[in-house]
Amino acid sequence: MKKRTLPVIIAISSFSVLLFLFGLGWAVKDQLVDTHSELQPSTKETAGNTEPSAKKDNKITVAAIGDSLTRGTGDDNGKGYVGYLIEQLKKKSGSSIAVANSAIKGERSEGLVEQLKQPQIQRQIANADVIVMTIGGNDLFRGGEALQSLDTNSIEDSRIQYIKNLEIIYGAIRKQNPKAEVFHVGLYNPFINMQESELTTAIVRDWNFAAAESAAKFEKVVYIPTFDLFQLRAEDYLYSDQFHPNAEGYKLIAERVASLITVQEEGKTK
């Protein structure tokens, strides 16, 4: 056996030396010597399976966009209202549900406008049966910064900008997907128990009203109020950062959204 294996191994090894030398040479040439300047984004035809494949069966597809609330910041279970919503929908419909959560912590309305320009996000929107979103909390509170200087003028300015962006966002969603139901989870006042709560509450109400107004201009866009959920016992439903909801708070939001989504037995939204 020894007599046979040795020459074989030597032959294989010598061959592999040549092979790897060749590979190494190619790597050096490709990476260091050649300077490729031509760039071909014409790869659409090389990837043959480009067709949107997500929508093959009867399951519900949910697209979630927006800020940290959609992300679930503050929930010890890490689910956020999207997670609880999915659980409830699963129970209701009995089928599996696909979620694409593209929310980014700290996202503001202008960030979302930019994000909605990305082709893959657009694809997810187009494929979705249900779209849930939160946006505006960071425009309004800027991580608590706005509270220090309750400058009504600058807040008014950002409100106008926010509404403008919001209509662009709704428009972009509707353009990609004219059929899906859009649920925009509204703003609440996390600072309701702090000083000057009257002023902050008035501002939040103001923003919510304006946002609901613009939502009404679009078909099947539902603006879901959350202000009342956190009105009376904010401390029970807020996370320790006193800004994001905690698990209980998210469950409240999820219940509210879930009650608005009707599913048929086979799992398709009406």
Binding site: H36, L39, A100, Q118, P119
Partner: protein
């Protein structure tokens, strides 16, 4: 010369080291295959879809979210930003960098084992090439033959090169064959992007081009081989210098592991980039995953490794031919 090399290969085979290494690989590959299989499954379960675009999009968003966290280090943030641009680039060009298949597994396995696992395996073979002759006393018998000393050492070194190549080839073949059972054997022509380079903390994409996966794999294995030869040569030098195989192994092991730790610190301690062990991850340059460190590029890392290799060779030959053997 050929018969000398033949003789050395025979000794290597007698020690059964190569078989042990093949066994190790044959044991590890199914493990990783299973792990990756599981990973794909859980990801599909979580998202409710097995569409890779959704998954990649999700990864991008996750990276974006991590970027917005205030508790991450600057270096890591830079790296994530580069990653992000790259992922977005793949997505925009509609290329799935992780399309399942045996070639993809083979590529990822090579990329992940280049800095530690493979050098360790090579070390196992190289560590006692000369030192075992010294500690076993057979070196005297060997040197009494009417053959010049440098020829003896050269034959040992060539035998080492052959077995290193053999190991790398086996890693390729075994990872392909075994993972193919689960992932299927196709995917050689999958387009991949290469040529990413980093300037400052920006990802430069103007020399990015597409290569088919088979070429990509061939290039990566060339680099893997280069790294293994460099590590093998250094171990070989230690084996000449020290009589104890355990000491050789200890030193190599320590420096390889130190390298794995140092890699993360090079950004703060720049001159560490001249150590051989922080330059082992050559494949990262090809895939554009390298940590963005000033002055480190494929050319630089290869030059560092080459200098260390040549120095090790010179030292080995000088010491071996000059040394008193008693």
């Amino acid at each position: 010369m050929t018969s000398l090399v033949h003789n050395e290969m025979l000794k290597l085979l007698r020690k059964k080291r190569l078989y042990v290494i093949i066994l190790i690989i044959a044991f590890l590959v199914p493990l990783f295959t299973y792990a990756q299989f599981k990973q794909i499954q859980t990801a599909a379960e979580k998202l409710g879809t097995d569409d890779w675009r959704t998954r990649l999009q999700q990864e991008i968003v996750d990276t974006q979210n991590r970027l917005s966290s205030s508790r991450i280090q600057d270096e890591w943030r830079k790296f994530l930003k580069v990653r992000l641009t790259q992922q977005q680039y793949y997505l925009d060009n509609d290329i799935n960098p992780q399309a399942p298949g045996a070639p993809t597994f083979m590529r990822v396995f090579a990329e992940n084992s280049i800095d530690l696992l493979l050098p360790l395996l090579v070390m196992v073979v190289a560590a006692d090439l000369v030192s075992s002759e010294a500690s076993g006393g057979t070196i005297k018998l060997l040197l009494t033959r009417p053959v010049q000393r440098w020829r003896i050492l050269l034959s040992k070194y060539l035998a080492l090169l052959l077995s290193v190549s053999f190991i790398v080839l086996m890693v390729g073949i075994l990872s392909y064959l075994i993972s193919g059972i689960v992932f299927g054997y196709g995917g050689w022509n999958l387009p991949l992007l290469t040529g990413f380079s980093v300037q400052g903390d920006e990802l430069v994409t103007n020399s990015v081009h597409m290569v088919p996966q088979w070429q990509y794999i061939l290039m990566e294995f060339g680099l893997v081989w280069f790294v293994c030869v460099a590590v093998g040569t250094l171990t070989f030098m230690l084996s000449v210098l020290l009589r104890s195989t355990a000491a050789v192994m200890g030193i190599m092991l320590a420096s390889l592991i130190a390298g794995a730790i140092l890699v993360n610190m090079v950004s703060s301690w720049e001159s560490a980039k001249y150590f051989f062990m922080v330059n082992l991850q050559l494949t990262n340059y090809v895939s554009g995953m390298a940590l963005p460190i000033e002055g480190m590029s494929l050319g630089f890392s290869m030059a560092v490794l080459a200098v260390w290799t040549i120095a090790a060779l010179v030292i080995s030959f000088v010491v071996f031919t000059k040394r008193d053997v008693y």
